[in-house]
């Protein structure tokens, strides 16, 4: 179980990205985190594994208080938290296998990893994961030789190689076409179900979030303004999260179970441009 208590992050520039966020993710629960660009979605999930250092508040995963961990124990805690990134964040010049095995770095010493001598069970697990995400034929290709959807599959395999207790997913579909986006979302949610793995998925595409997760949290200006089931996302709620707009094309009809409904390109193109905001957040959290 993941618990955030009163989490606040103020960047050195004075921007308050998170303002007293409290929430709990139950074991095995997949949560979609929506909100406008700059609402603090990326900051929120980066505060959990402390790629961004929270200013105050607590993060607890299982029995471990992640905030307040020292350098060594933070590294051990990060092994339990898999992360999937926007734009994949694969090491472009390494092979697919090296990228997947890099998920094991927290478990092996420097020299073993330097000479790429990973333990046999880690290697066989990596093969199994590549098989699971459908990339068995691309093991020795360089990551930059793959298509967008394939790269994100490598990203998923890398996160799973960590044997995580929690998955943090940052805009997994931001640079993918609508069809691939749906395949990737489906794969992530399926894997979470298979393993009983809880996950927080940052996603700017409301329709996509509605069709794949069972709980949605709306973030606005660093505060939680909505927490509920996908079908509770009404016009009024979306206006509360994003501001005034005509939402009729975005909201998924409650009685509609068919997936195709959301392939409407208008819905896909609804929000965009989180990349530069993310960059700013990432740079601010660097040092």
């Amino acid at each position: 179980m993941l618990r955030l208590q009163n989490l606040t992050k103020t960047y050195r520039t004075g921007d308050r990205a998170l303002n007293g966020v409290s929430l709990t993710v139950e074991p095995g629960q997949v949560v979609g985190l929506i909100g406008p660009s700059g609402a603090g979605k990326s900051t929120l999930i980066r505060c959990i594994n402390r790629l961004v250092e929270p200013s105050s508040g607590q993060v607890t995963l299982g029995d471990t208080a992640l905030t307040g961990l020292g350098h060594g124990s933070l590294r051990r805690a990060r092994r339990r938290i898999g992360m999937i990134f926007q734009e994949y964040a694969l090491v472009e010049r390494l092979t697919v296998m090296e990228n997947v095995l890099s998920g094991r770095l927290g478990y092996v010493g420097f020299w073993r990893s330097f000479f790429r001598k990973f333990p046999p069970d880690a290697v066989s697990k990596a093969y199994a994961l590549l098989d699971r995400v459908g990339l068995s034929d691309h093991v020795d290709k360089r990551a930059d030789a793959l298509s967008g959807g394939q790269r994100q599959r490598v990203g998923i395999a890398r996160a799973l190689a960590q044997d995580p207790d929690l998955l943090l997913v940052d805009e997994p579909t931001a640079s993918l076409d609508p069809k691939t986006s749906r395949q990737i979302m489906r794969l992530i949610v399926e894997i979470c179900d298979e393993r009983g793995l809880p996950a927080i998925i940052n996603i700017h595409d409301v329709a996509l979030a509605q069709s794949f997760v069972r709980r949605i949290i709306g973030l606005k200006s660093g505060e939680v303004v909505f927490d509920g089931a996908p079908n509770e996302l009404t016009d009024a709620v979306l206006t509360r999260i994003y501001g005034e707009e005509d939402w009729s094309a975005t909201i998924r009809p409650v009685d509609e179970e068919s997936d195709d409904q959301v392939d409407d390109p208008d819905a896909e193109a609804e929000h965009h441009g989180p990349a530069e905001v993310l960059d700013r957040e990432r740079m601010a959290g660097l040092s």
């Binding site: 734009e87 090491v91 390494l94 990893s113 660097l286």
Partner: protein, 269 residues
């Protein structure tokens, strides 16, 4: 909008760099006046130039008939010294530059280490090779050892600085992803950073090998051994034909190194 305004505007000029026209013309005029005065102040002794033409001609004549034979023993020895100096200095320079370059990258090094490494780089870059060579020749005597030290030292300033800048320019997301797996600092460097900077590091090292060879022929003139010393001796004896042979050899070797390194650089992309 234009329709609403009633007139279709068809004239557009790019806004000038300096908006104030007076200031603009003052700067343009001032620069011109300065240039005219500066050129006028260059003192040319035309009689001396005329006398020098004769020497220049002899030099060119020497070039037309390069003499590889009569001083071949000296030339071969000088070349061998230069090449040895170049290769050893480049290897040692790279080995020292890599840790300093990593330490001088602000995005991965803590501040004290960063400052120390930047200091070493600044020191190495602030002195031209010849000045360092004079110092090392005074300390360690004539010969290739002083040259080796000079080139190693100069390599550090060059490679470490460019490596550090390349590390600062990496795609942070890749390093962040590695860090998020619980990897240690060295593992982040090895997995998240090294693959991103390696092609450029190889290219720069090969480029530095070129530079070191060329520099080895220059610092020889101040006594740091190598082909430069041979060249200097030949010039002093007015043996322009032998000097020409040396220069031609230097040009050939530099061109071969250039060609070879461009092939390797293409391969490592």
């Amino acid at each position: 909008m234009t329709a609403a305004a009633g007139t279709a505007r068809a004239v557009w000029r790019r806004p000038p760099l300096i908006r104030n026209p007076r200031l603009r013309w003052a700067i343009y005029g001032g620069s011109l006046v300065y240039l005219v005065l500066a050129f006028a102040s260059v003192d040319v002794n035309w009689t001396r130039v005329y006398e020098g033409l004769d020497r220049g001609l002899r030099f060119v004549e020497g070039f037309l008939v390069p003499d590889f034979v009569s001083r071949w023993g000296d030339i071969a020895q000088g070349m061998q010294e230069s090449l040895t100096m170049t290769v050893t200095a480049t290897v040692v320079g790279i080995m020292v530059s890599v840790p300093i370059g990593i330490g001088a990258a602000r995005n991965i090094a803590p501040l004290p280490i960063y400052l120390a490494c930047r200091g070493i780089i600044a020191l190495s870059r602030s002195f031209q090779e010849i000045i360092i060579a004079i110092l090392f020749v005074a300390m360690f005597g004539f010969g290739p050892f002083a040259g080796f030290l000079t080139l190693s030292f100069a390599t550090i300033g060059f490679l470490a600085k460019l490596l550090a800048e390349d590390i600062e320019d990496i795609d942070e997301a890749q390093a962040e992803a590695i860090r998020s797996t619980g990897a240690g600092w060295w593992q982040v460097v090895n997995y998240g950073i090294q693959p991103q900077v390696m092609p450029r590091l190889i290219g720069l090292s090969l480029y530095r090998l070129d530079i070191n060879f060329r520099e080895s022929s220059v610092i020889g003139i101040v006594g740091a051994g190598g082909i430069g010393a041979t060249l200097n001796t030949a010039m002093d004896r007015y043996e322009y034909d032998s000097a020409a042979a040396i220069l031609i050899l230097i040009i050939v070797i530099v061109m071969l190194a250039e060609y070879g390194s461009s092939i390797i650089r293409q391969r490592v992309q």
